[in-house]
Structures are given as C-alpha cells and as structure tokens.
C-alpha cells in the first residue's frame, strides 16, 4: 500500500465509520433540500415567465430554471433566451441562493 493511496483515502484500512459519516452528511443534506423546497421550482418558473413576458416577448420553452447544489451553497440558474430581433438585450442571469 503506497503512501499516496493512503493519503487519498483509498486504503482498504480506512476506518469505515469515517466513510459512513461522510456518505451520510452528503445524503442527508440533499434529503433536506428535497424535502419540499423543490416544489417551488415549477411555480417560480411560471411566475418568472409572467413577469418577463410583460417586458419582452419570449417563448415559453426558452425559460430554463435549474437548482444546482455545490458544496455548502446552492446556485439557482435562470437561462432565458431572448429572440435577437428584440431591442432588449436580456441574456442569462445567475442568482445565488445561500
């Protein structure tokens, strides 16, 4: 067993309790986000679309709302494609949610 793989935590001797703790921390944090927070996405998408449509003409399929989780923060990403003919130059926008 090389020292490198030990450092990388690949050692078969790695304490299983530690592995369990790390796996649980991840699964539990996702579980808590899933527990209801996610049902707001379709409503958010709908409301955003309503507001945006007041100002620019966009296709319903051109609004994309995604929630991405990375480590300790989540990123709410809105991707709105606006037809080039429009005078308005609304492009993509990112809102960070902590």
């Amino acid at each position: 067993m090389s020292i490198f793989s030990k450092i990388l935590g690949l050692s078969p001797n790695r304490k299983s309790a530690k592995v369990a703790r790390e796996r649980l921390q991840i699964v539990v944090s996702h579980q808590r986000i899933d527990e209801g927070d996610n049902d707001f996405l379709p409503r958010l998408r709908h409301e955003l679309l309503t507001v945006i449509c007041k100002y620019v003409k966009v296709d319903k399929d051109q609004v994309n709302v995604q929630l991405q989780r990375t480590g300790s923060c989540s990123v709410l990403e809105l991707n709105i494609t606006v037809p080039t003919a429009q005078e308005s130059s609304l492009t993509a926008n990112n809102i960070n949610v902590y």
Binding site: A17, V27, V28
Partner: protein, 277 residues
Amino acid sequence: MVKSESKIIVVTSGKGGVGKTTTSAAIGAELARRGHKTVVVDFDIGLRNLDLIMGCERRVIFDFVNVIQNDANINQALIKDKRQENLFVLPASQTRDKDALNQEGVERVLTELKKDFAFIVCDSPAGIERGALMALYFADEAVVVTNPEVSSVRDSDRIIGVLNSRTKKAEQNQEVKKHLLITRYSQNRVQRGEMLSVNDVQEILAIPLLGVIPESTAVLNASNHGIPVTLGTPSDAKIAYQNAVAMLLGEEPLDASQKGWKSKLLGGLRLFNRSPA
C-alpha cells in the same frame, strides 16, 4: 377532566428493527415504576408485537381498532400490567385493513386516555405511512430511535422532517420536542473506527441526545421473557434506559454540562464492555 400535565410521547424511527417497541416498553415501564400513570399504545396495526414484548399477549381481548370502531370501550381494551400498577397497554389489532386507523378515531381515543394517564407512549410502526403518521400526529414529544448505522440515521433524518411538518403541533406553528435515543451502541466498535460515534450521529441529526443504549444481551433476554428491559434483571441497557427516562422527565443536572453527563455514561459503557454481561 384532562390532566394538564398529560403528555403524548411518540417512539419513532422510520427504519424497522432498530428497537422502537423495546424502547416503548422500557420507557413506559420506567415511567410507571417512577409513579406516573402510563399507557403504551401499539400503533402497528396488523403486526402487533408490543403485547409480546410486555408479556401480556395472552390477555388481549379487545384492541385499539375495536375501540375506534366503537366495538369496545377503552377500559375493556386496556390491559393492566401485572408487575406495575401504573402501567397499561393498549394493543394493536391484527386486522389487515390498512385504513382501520383514522385521525378522528385516534384523536378520540387519545383524548379519552388523557383523562386518566400522565403519559401516553405511542409505539410507532416502521415506515412513513398511515400508521406511523397517525402515531406521531398528536405527539407533544418524540423519541427518535436510531442505530449507529447509515440506513437508520438517514431514515431518522427523514422522520425528523416529518415531525417538523406533519404533526398537529407543526400545523399550529409549534414544535414537537425531539429526543435522540441511540440504541445498539458498541463503544468497542466505535473505538476501532467501525461504528458511527454518538457525536457523529448527533452532529448529523442535530437534535438533543436523550441517551445511548449499549448493545446488550439483556435486551433479547428481556424480550424472550416478555419483560420490559427496565423491569428486568440488572444490566447496562437497563441503567441506560433508566437514565434516558430521568432525562425525559427533566431530571438531568441543569447545567452541569452535558459533556460531564455524557462522558460519565460512556465511561460506564466502557466499564460494562470489559466484562461480558
């Protein structure tokens, strides 16, 4: 008249086989031994087992569902323990009708029990379906039974989420007081790095610790005999359950730092682990 101090405590876990019924029986019996009039209610409709663990399986005549459906009154269904005069059991029925428990019926029975009992301990079935939801809906406090093992911890986290959102208290913007009870704990295996420690579990679930019950031969022995662990022969598990009940009753030294209490308990566990029970 409803006893003002009457409390409904649900014993829950999400996962099966972690010791909910053992814990319900042990906590119920210890509360009764301390002089509190206590009833333990089996919510596991179709898979009745509390009666066996408490040793009254041959005395079941009417059950919880009979009372809900008005086929019997509550006093006909309650079984008085032969060892503790303050201890009663309300057995589950063996019906396969999943809808036998309804919210109105459960509320009516619990209101009735509140007139007579200081503590109503609800032994929840596993899962997060009707029986489990009915068992926790009216709870004032919850004992979340968890084994130091990944699937049990994850399911406990789920049930904590349910306790926070799908109880009467939650609907009234109040909180069900939650307690973590870790069962089947082995200090030796924790020291070898093979088992999640008390701190690991508590950190992940983030609810106050009520107690740690060591893995013990006394638990199977007690269930073999139909004796709640707290009324059985002296053992480490018995002491741990008695401490947990003291804590539940708010008897822990107020600010003598939880750490002191915890290390004392863990010290005790190590002591017991050295000599086979």
